[in-house]
Amino acid sequence: MNIDQKNTETTTGGRVRVLLAKPTHDCHDRGVRLVARKFRDAGFEVIFFNFLLPQEIVNTAVEESVHVIGISVSSGGHMPIFEDAIAGLKDVGMDGVMLIGGGIIPPKDEATLKEWGVRAIFGPGTTADDAIAMIEETFIGEAAV
């Protein structure tokens, strides 16, 4: 879709701001980097970074006042990351942010993460377009065309 022909403004003005985060130890970043490109093509402002500690996600989310946080983990160890990030976001009053996940997250962990408030997990078999559609539905008003 040509972004010039569609509305990319959020309902409160400005573009959708998305933070995409990947642990520094996790070399499987082919997927998340592609998602970052696709999000940019969709008109989102994307901040992509690699974190050592989950608190860095929280700090960056505050600094950049993002609407969406996507955490991608493909090497395991995802549960403590989400747990710490969720707690940290609550501490700074950002628990309303849309939190999504991606990578290799086993189904049983996915169920727990959703109980914790993670909106969706985009794993194998999903596309960047699926995530874009969900974000647009939430933050963007009627298409301008």
């Binding site: 520094t24 130890h25 690699n50 050592l52 090497s75 160890g77 194998p124 078999g125």
Partner: protein, 575 residues
């Protein structure tokens, strides 16, 4: 290659075939599939629908040669598998050292074997080690013993190899940037057990070049380059049986790169590597004597085979012509195949057994030296004992039952295989030229060019999957069967807690004075190393000092902490 009469008959035969083919195209009209109208390889190289003698007439016999003869297109040695099968090198590592050891012993008992009956262990360190940390660091939570073994000290090494004779085995240490720490701890263990370093066999990865296309924390490219050169010098001097460096082709393909990029970019790194080694005073033969390659075997069956043949040819030719390499061993491309993980699907996971069997067969037909066959459940987690055993069985079936091991380079002479080998070789040499025009691999890494090129290929691959042009069974076609569920590997409990207790106990009980002295000396060496130019590399004493620290029970986090401070270390988005 052919006389004029054969060539004219070949062309006539091709014209006849093409005329018939064109009639079929007309009949199909718009319904003709793309592979019929515009055939291409997985890398996107244009290919023909049939090959003839004149398609290979431009390839000189000197480009193909004989097995064991320059330029080694047909293999490094006169024999391929007749006297010795390829080595089974499944990647092993999870949990505590004891868990990893259990898997090593299980697979050994199932017949996992190296050259001439020797024990080979291909061991991967965990995510915490890759980050150069200890298990009690806050960032280690949830990552201890994940995707690798929780080995952080000489003491952990002793647990891992308890009761084994290090002289009678070959140990591959799969590290990312923590090469110095893991290597130092292994050497320190050898010292403790009274084994000369020169008696050790195995591999260090020396994979500093992978930060060009793999997103993990790392040393700056120039610093990594210096560490690589230092290790080559050290091992050349002290450990003649040790393989110093592995060229990580596989990571390029896994990051989305094409077959052409995989070998072209690694050739370009090889050129920068030899240049830097020579600046430190080594000859090309010395720099290259003990290097190996990890190469992917992915889905395009013939392209992946031709990629291997092309790599052998362009490597030998480039190293001879650019640097005067002369020793055949220094021109050989010794390959550890890793069947592609990125080709595996989490949908219908058992189907991956079929994919990996084809990858393994392709690698065998290419004449590689060792293999790791991915387990069918690797898109879901690390392999279970059952899936790891099946992956080993895949190698064994092809080794024992198919008789493909009877003949060296069995596909040689196929018009298609020779033409495609040449086509890939020429395309990869263009990649080398492009990198050289930018000032070499390190420069092309720093500008982000390598990353962009590989990422562009990853994006094209994804688009082809999304549009259905590239078909993947279970993912975008034949999707039924999702109900099939694989058992997912479950880590043992208490890995993290035990690892933390062990490292704290070690720090509390080691000889503090001995530790402080060794760490101070090592820190001084690391600081001096940071300032050293390429000409000064090789005798810096860095590895020796790190080994002294490891003897005094320095942990991975401590050894790496010193290097990070001295050389600089940053997250991938910062370089």
């Amino acid at each position: 290659m052919f006389d004029d009469s054969t060539l004219s008959k070949s062309k006539a035969a091709a014209e006849q075939q093409q005329a018939g083919y064109n009639k079929m195209l007309e009949r199909f009209g718009d319904a003709a599939p793309q592979r019929a109208t515009a055939p291409k390889t997985g890398s996107g190289l244009p290919i023909k629908n049939a090959y003839f003698p004149h398609d290979v007439a431009h390839i000189g016999h000197d480009q193909i040669g004989a097995p064991g003869q320059f330029p080694f297109t047909r293999g490094n040695l006169p024999a391929q598998y007749q006297f010795m099968n390829w080595a089974n090198q499944p990647v092993i590592g999870y949990g505590l050292p004891e868990h990893t050891r259990e898997r090593m012993d299980t697979l050994s008992a199932q017949g996992m074997v190296g050259y001439f009956g020797q024990k080979f262990y291909n061991l991967v360190y965990d995510l915490v080690s890759h980050e150069g940390l200890d298990p009690d660091h806050p960032a280690a939570r949830g990552r201890v013993g994940q995707c690798g073994m929780a080995v952080y000290s000489k003491q952990d090494m002793a647990r891992l190899f308890d009761g084994m004779d290090l002289r009678k085995m070959n140990v591959i240490h799969i590290t990312y940037y923590q090469v110095v720490a893991a290597f130092a701890q292994y050497l320190a263990l050898a010292d403790e057990w009274g084994i000369e370093h020169s008696e050790l066999r195995g591999n260090t990865m020396n994979w500093y070049h992978q930060s060009a296309y793999v997103g993990m924390s790392a040393f700056a490219p120039e610093s990594g380059h210096k560490l690589a050169v230092e290790l080559v010098n050290y091992c050349g001097r002290e450990m003649p049986r040790w393989n110093t460096t592995n060229f990580f082709c596989y990571g390029i393909e896994e990051a989305g790169g094409t077959a052409v990029q995989e070998i072209g970019l690694m050739l370009a790194y090889g050129v920068d590597f030899v240049r830097a080694c020579m600046a430190s005073g080594l000859t090309a033969d010395q720099a290259l004597l003990r290097v190996g390659f990890q190469v992917a075997q992915a889905n395009d069956f013939f392209e992946e085979i031709c990629k291997i043949r092309a790599l052998r040819r362009i490597w030998a030719t480039t190293m001879r012509d650019m640097f005067g390499a002369n020793d055949p061993r220094s021109m050989h491309v010794r390959i550890h195949t890793h069947t592609s993980g990125a080709c595996l699907t989490s949908q219908q996971p058992l189907v991956n057994l079929i994919r990996t069997s084809l990858h393994t067969l392709g690698a065998a037909l290419s004449g590689v030296q060792a293999m790791e066959v991915s387990a069918y459940d690797e898109a879901l987690g690390i392999p279970t004992e059952e899936s790891a055993t099946l992956a080993l069985r895949c190698q064994q079936v092809i080794q024992e039952e198919t008789n493909v091991t009877a003949v060296t380079d069995p596909l040689a002479g196929s018009y298609y295989v020779e033409a495609l080998t040449d086509q890939i070789a020429e395309a990869a040499l263009k990649v080398l030229d492009e990198v050289e025009a930018q000032g070499g691999y390190i420069a092309a890494q720093k500008s982000g060019w390598i990353r962009r090129e590989v990422e562009g290929s990853a994006e094209r691959w994804r688009e082809e999957v999304n549009t259905g042009e590239r078909r993947i069974v279970g993912m975008n076609c034949y999707e039924e069967g999702d109900a099939q569920e694989a058992e997912i590997f479950e880590y043992p409990d208490d890995i993290e807690q035990t690892a933390i207790e062990r490292v704290r106990e070690l720090r509390a009980t080691r000889d503090a004075a001995k530790f402080e002295t060794a760490m101070q000396a090592y820190t001084d060496k690391a600081r001096a190393f940071a300032k050293a130019g390429h000409a000064e590399l090789g005798n810096s004493g860095l590895i020796e000092a790190a080994t002294d620290a490891a003897r005094a029970d320095a942990t991975t986090g401590e050894i790496m902490g010193v290097l990070k401070d001295a050389l600089g270390w940053s997250a991938p988005h910062e370089y």
